[in-house]
């Protein structure tokens, strides 16, 4: 898909994320916004998903389950979730639970929310694929704070042990967790070296909010060499909404009406710019 189309999808997804969190008066905008380009490239260019029930489909596991608005925005763009339903996010009876629930919403590959567990589940999917000699890949998006959980490293060890070159871990390296900078809260760096030591082929996307940069990085991670893959994507938390960028406070709080209006305004201007570009 060309970058212009992807950028339009990304801007729309950001608007959806803001509207969901605003409508619910709660949720996690910062880490949803940082991962938009990663998810958009996966869902609209890289992953092969003929349908969400096809046993041979590629799979996406959002291990950082609190970024559920990001996943829902993608499923909306994919036509699985109607636009109007986004307003039910976090409400009683909604399919759009605070954290993704695979039994409530088709297209959610794994129920996640307790950090560090989704990576292991994604490894299990990749292992099942290898066992059945299927060709699908499993993409798992985790947070950079999330890798403070020991279970992430248990999962990485097993992905390497079982030679899961169909497993691609993406670390959304926005450098912030709720309490502040990851290096100050509980330093998980150096991330690349750790993953490499666990047997991964590791590539950095210096700008994880740039499609060309991400595309190039993913392109280096396709070798079927018996090694699991990792992409460390340096992103900006709150990306695309000026006052949310690089602010830990927007990890888990919702904008008020004025803030929502400003965010939507900025994103509408971005969409207008893209429309100009198209002409």
């Amino acid at each position: 898909m060309d970058n212009l189309e992807l950028k339009k999808i990304a801007a729309e997804a950001r608007k959806d994320i803001i509207e969901m969190v605003y409508s619910a008066s709660s949720g996690h905008p910062g880490g949803s916004l940082s991962g938009v380009e990663i998810a958009a490239l996966l869902y609209f260019e890289i992953m092969d998903i003929p349908s969400f029930t096809d046993p041979d489909r590629d799979r996406f596991v959002l291990s950082k389950g609190h970024a559920s608005p990001l996943l829902y925005s993608m499923l909306c763009a994919k036509g699985v979730v109607p636009k109007e339903e986004l307003k039910t996010f976090r409400r009683m009876g909604s399919r759009l639970q605070g954290h993704p629930d695979m039994k409530k919403l088709p297209g959610v590959e794994m129920t996640t929310g307790s950090l560090g567990l989704g990576v292991g589940a994604a490894v299990g999917m990749a292992l099942a694929g290898k066992t059945d000699k299927k060709n699908y890949s499993v993409y798992c998006l985790c947070g950079d704070g999330e890798i403070e959980e020991g279970s992430v490293w248990e999962a990485c060890m097993s992905a390497s042990h079982y030679k899961l070159d169909n497993f691609i871990l993406i670390v959304d390296n926005n450098n912030l967790q709720i309490d502040g900078e990851i290096g100050k809260v509980m330093n998980p760096y150096p991330i690349n070296e750790k993953l490499a030591a666990f047997g991964f082929d590791v590539v950095t996307a210096e700008d994880g909010n740039c499609f060309d940069c991400l595309r190039s990085a993913f392109g280096k991670l396709t070798e079927k060499n018996g090694r699991p893959k990792a992409l460390v994507a340096k992103t900006v938390k709150g990306k695309g909404v000026s006052y949310m960028e690089n602010q830990a406070k927007w990890h888990g709080s919702a904008p008020n009406e004025n803030e929502r209006d400003q965010a939507v305004n900025e994103l509408d201007m971005e969409l207008a710019r893209l429309a100009e570009e198209e002409k």
């Binding site: 307790s114 066992t131 042990h161």
Partner: protein
Amino acid sequence: MSEDIATREAYGLALKDLGAVNDKVVVLDADLSGSTKTSNFAQAYPDRFFDMGIAETNMTNVAAGMAACGKIPFISTFAVFGTGRNYDAVRQSICYPNLNVKIACTHAGLTVGEDGATHQSLEDISLMNGLPNMTVFVPADAVEARAAVFEAAKIDGPVYLRFSRGKTPVIYPEDHVFIPGKADVLRDGHNVAIFACGVMVSEALKAAELLYGQGVSAAVINVSTIKPLDKETVVRYAQKCGNVITCEEHSIYGGLNAVICQTLAEECPTPVRAVAVNDVFGQSGKPDQLMSHYHLTAMDIAKKYKEFGEK
């Protein structure tokens, strides 16, 4: 009665036979396959056996992912790790999404013996009972253990299976039919209903014999499915006998005693006495020494009956 067999031995053999008839079954172990007896399956079906190393949480999450792709994973380790260390992964990755994973744990209870308190799981039934979507089986002998493995595979959802390390008497004939969710009346009686699970079932049968010698008629009911509980049989025998004793190789909190008291308090208030570990940790020792020390023998069960006249 034939020779004594550990339920973990029966589990290992049953798992291998299940693997022969169901190719969706995969087995994961956490570096204890020789002890849990999943080694039987590993030797027969190496392509469907995955040693996950000493990483129980990851074993559980990986099993969840495999179940999401249509597999029927059995995960095995000691009960203390498979339910305690592992609790969050069981809750979040298996029970909440209701995935088809069987948590088959061995070395439950005091009869682990010499390894001591760190390895003696006395809270596992409590932990697993509290989880929605979970079924809980505590087989009484090798025959029931084998049947429970096959029945667990038929259930589309999480099942906890509790097996023991030590050899225990075989109380059922080989053609015994285990019905999930159904308590099995092994001996009828009318003075006291003894509800037991796991290794305590054979002790309860011995206790009933001791009580018989004292002129007391004791019914013995094997509650091998703790959840969902066979409330009908529990209430019927409480009504019939008027006195209830519960027996389990588990903490007094959250296990068989708890679910039976809860049921009877609502449906048929009845005096109940518990034979269980009374809110303490275990210690190293021979299994039979430990069972005596913590008052989990046939003699202790029989003595409990005397308490009913004291009030």
